[in-house]
């Protein structure tokens, strides 16, 4: 009591730290994982754990070797690892998430200075890296309830399934009913199939004020509008719109990837523009590109624009000072 502490005000802080926020995101991701284990088996869980653990280990080792302060305690590496695993097909070999985590954590995140300083979303960049480097493994999907080994590599004898997204791309309606797509009873990536549970996680994040509605809503709405204006063949417009939204990683990306703090704008207006951009590019790639899925590329492109969007969407200051007023 001899020495009183003197600091700049405020002297109270909100209890939510970066760690609490990351724990909230992890919590919001759990329902999708439970579903993945249910339809894809234990292998989904193992892949997720391998991915998250390797992300944490790479972050720890990098900070240690480079003599920087330890940051694994903020749990952001765990979130990156889980998100990366969620974008992988369940049949990929175990080393693949490890390689992906290395790319995400070391190259995309830490080389730029660590949390809060990376330009693009680490998990998505790693996914695209794996996708371009290992196109066949990354595009082999298995149907729900196929028995896969929990750890061993998946043999070529496992029948690859067409995804609803590839059906859409080919111009035909998905084989699954819409309700199955919504619940997640279809082939796809580990964490992306169940739209319902991803939305449940998103709702939790909204309630906890971890994310705001701007990006997910503008992203999904823009995609829906584009799908409605340019419908596919063989089904009515509304069915097509819902099929586009409920296939691939669109909802997962809109809720969990595009809302990544570091790589998205900070103002409400900026977030809406960013979400619209994500939706436009996603649908452009889906409709005109050579890949089935466009969300990863769309978000990576918009990541690069995020800080510029911020620059041009500054809110008008209270009292209306002109931007250059001294």
């Amino acid at each position: 009591m001899d020495f009183l502490k003197v600091t700049s005000s405020p002297h109270m802080r909100h209890e939510d730290t970066t760690r609490v926020i990351m724990l909230d995101v992890i919590l919001a991701l759990v329902p999708a994982l439970i579903w993945a284990v249910y339809i894809f088996g234990t292998r989904a869980l193992v892949l997720t754990i391998v991915s998250a653990a390797s992300a944490v280990i790479f972050e720890f080792l990098y900070r240690l070797i480079m003599k920087k302060s330890a940051t694994v305690g903020d749990f952001s590496a765990v979130v990156t690892g889980i998100l990366l695993a969620y974008t992988l097909p369940v049949s990929v070999p175990m080393w693949m998430p490890v390689l992906g985590s290395f790319f995400a954590i070391v190259i995309v995140k830490q080389l730029y200075g660590g949390i809060g300083k990376n330009v693009v979303n680490p998990a998505l960049a790693a996914r695209v890296f794996l996708f371009l480097a290992f196109p066949s493994e990354m595009a082999t999907y298995t149907s729900p309830f196929t028995k896969l080994p929990a750890f061993a590599n998946v043999g070529a004898d496992v029948v690859a399934s067409a995804t609803p997204l590839s059906n859409l791309k080919a111009g035909t309606a998905p084989d699954e009913k819409l309700i199955d797509l919504f619940i997640g009873n279809s082939a796809g990536c580990i964490g992306e199939v169940s739209i319902l549970l991803v939305l449940a996680g998103g709702l939790y994040l909204l309630v906890r004020k971890t994310i705001t509605w701007h990006i997910p809503v503008s992203f999904i709405l823009t995609s829906a509008v584009i799908a409605y204006i340019f419908p596919g063949t063989g089904m009515d417009a509304v069915q097509y719109v819902l099929s586009e939204l409920c296939t691939g990683g669109l909802v997962m990306a809109a809720v969990f990837m595009a809302t990544d703090y570091t790589t998205s704008p900070v103002s409400s207006k900026g977030r809406i523009i960013y979400g619209i951009g994500c939706g436009l590019i996603t649908m452009l790639i889906r409709k005109c590109g050579s890949y089935d899925e466009g969300v990863s590329f769309a978000i990576l492109v918009m990541n690069c624009l995020a800080w510029y969007i911020d620059k041009f969407t500054r809110p008008r200051v209270f009292g209306g000072a002109k931007k250059n007023e001294k």
């Binding site: 003197v6 002297h11 103002s267 809110p315 007023e325």
Partner: protein, 437 residues
């Protein structure tokens, strides 16, 4: 529906003292009165060491500049006049230390008003308020007489700021419950002085009982209205209160009077009442004593110049884990390094905190944008902190750094524990210090 502004934060009010009636704290053996307790120029001592002064006697004044005279809060002998480091802000301040003789002999010049209040002119009220040394008692300590002058001919409405949005503080709340007529009569004097017919009490909806008291006392007077505001920090800021009530944003660099409002803190109004009607200068004020380290939390009327250590003794002492002593609220108050610091005209609370209100994490911005969504001035604190940290002062100005009122909402909400306001303050100081082009 309570009205409010956009942005801001919801803080745990911690208003446990709102049931504690105001007690009069006896003056200690010595009082030390700083000769600057207001915004403006310091006053000069007009007493010397060894002089006998009476309670309420002017001991320092400066009639040529924006200032408030300082009065003796007890009667006794001037022990010494010494220079100390300022307890609020930078620089040094002179202190007049008076040894209390325990007689509380009132100064002869303190006499009740000899004519009817309704016959007062504006200049007379300004003179009386100035002579009584009244400065804004919400914390900003702007001389009240100058505020009245600034409103002449411009203001159409008086707003009485009873928001008290800072956590812990309940001094105004208790004042409104216990002595509402003092406040209301003070407002009536201001209405007469300014020739206005409209006064609005703006009060947060966590003080519904006080709002009810005001409504019952003013219900037959159509000049008065009571407006409930949403409980949200910083609701008590002048700009936010005017926006909540009238939907008008005060333009940058302008005063409330420029949009037809003049705002007085509730306790300031009560002080004006006593100054005008009783001739009583400002020599004591209500202070909320709270925090997790003080044995007994209280609302006290404390003679100005009372040292914190005397207040601590009166409240039963502090616990061993005391880490911070804050003059004012936890959001905008200033941490003190010395228990010899004294209660002044701007001390609305004294808080005794352990380390439990601090965050330990190393500062690291994660670009979450929460600071942007809470900023009541609609700034982007994330970029202000970034540019300020990098010394990019011109960029700071481009991002309207000077519009920041340092309310602390951004630092409060920041999950990355970045001391954003501190960075902003440093940048402001650097900008003020650099040579004009």
């Amino acid at each position: 529906m309570a009205i409010t502004f956009s942005g801001g934060i919801h803080v745990d009010g911690c208003k446990g003292t709102n049931t504690k009636a105001i007690e009069n704290m006896p003056a200690p053996e010595f009082v030390a009165l700083p000769l600057q307790q207001h915004i403006g120029a310091p006053v000069q001592a007009i007493v010397n060491k060894g002089d006998y002064v009476k309670m309420g006697q002017v001991i320092g004044r400066n009639d040529n500049a924006l200032s408030c005279p300082v009065h003796a809060s007890v009667s006794g002998i001037v022990e010494r006049i010494e220079t100390r480091n300022s307890y609020v802000g930078a620089g040094k301040t002179e202190f007049v230390v008076i040894k209390n003789d325990g007689e509380y002999t009132l100064c002869d010049s303190i006499t009740p008003l000899e004519k009817k209040v309704t016959e007062l002119t504006c200049d007379e009220v300004v003179h009386l308020v100035r002579e009584a040394g009244i400065s804004g008692m919400g914390g900003a300590t702007f001389p009240a007489y100058a505020k009245i002058q600034s409103a002449v001919g411009k203001a159409r409405e008086i707003i009485i700021n009873c928001a008290e949005c800072e956590p812990f503080i309940t001094a105004n709340h208790r004042l409104l419950l216990e002595q509402p007529m003092d406040v209301i009569n003070g407002v009536k004097i201001l209405l007469i002085a300014l020739g206005l017919k409209k006064a609005t009490f703006a009060i947060e909806d966590n003080k519904k009982n006080a709002a009810k008291v005001l409504e019952e006392l003013c219900c037959d007077d159509e000049m008065f209205s009571v407006k409930l505001l949403k409980t949200k920090y910083p609701q008590g800021d002048e700009r936010q209160i005017v926006y909540a009530l009238n939907g008008v944003q005060i333009p940058t660099g302008k005063l409330p009077a420029d949009v037809g409002c003049v705002i007085f803190n509730a306790e300031t109004c009560a002080a004006i009442y006593h100054a005008v009607v009783d001739g009583m200068p400002l020599i004591s004020r209500i202070v909320t004593i709270d925090g997790d380290c003080i044995k007994e939390s209280k609302n006290l009327r404390i003679p100005l110049g009372t040292a914190y250590r005397d207040v601590i003794d009166y409240c039963g002492g502090v616990t061993e884990d005391l880490s911070k002593v804050i003059n004012g609220g936890p959001m905008m108050g200033s941490a003190q390094w010395d228990l010899d610091a004294t209660v002044t005209k701007g001390t609305s609370a004294l808080l005794f905190f352990s380390a439990k209100y601090e965050k330990k994490a190393q500062p690291c911005c994660i670009h979450c944008g929460k600071c942007v969504s809470v900023c009541p001035m609609h700034l982007e604190p994330v970029y202000l902190a970034l540019f300020a940290g990098a010394g990019e002062l011109d960029k700071c100005l481009e991002y309207n750094l000077m519009s920041c009122m340092e309310c602390g909402s951004c630092s409060f909400i920041c999950p990355g524990n970045v001391p954003i306001v501190q960075y902003i303050r440093e940048a402001k100081d650097k900008i003020k210090a650099r040579p004009k082009k």
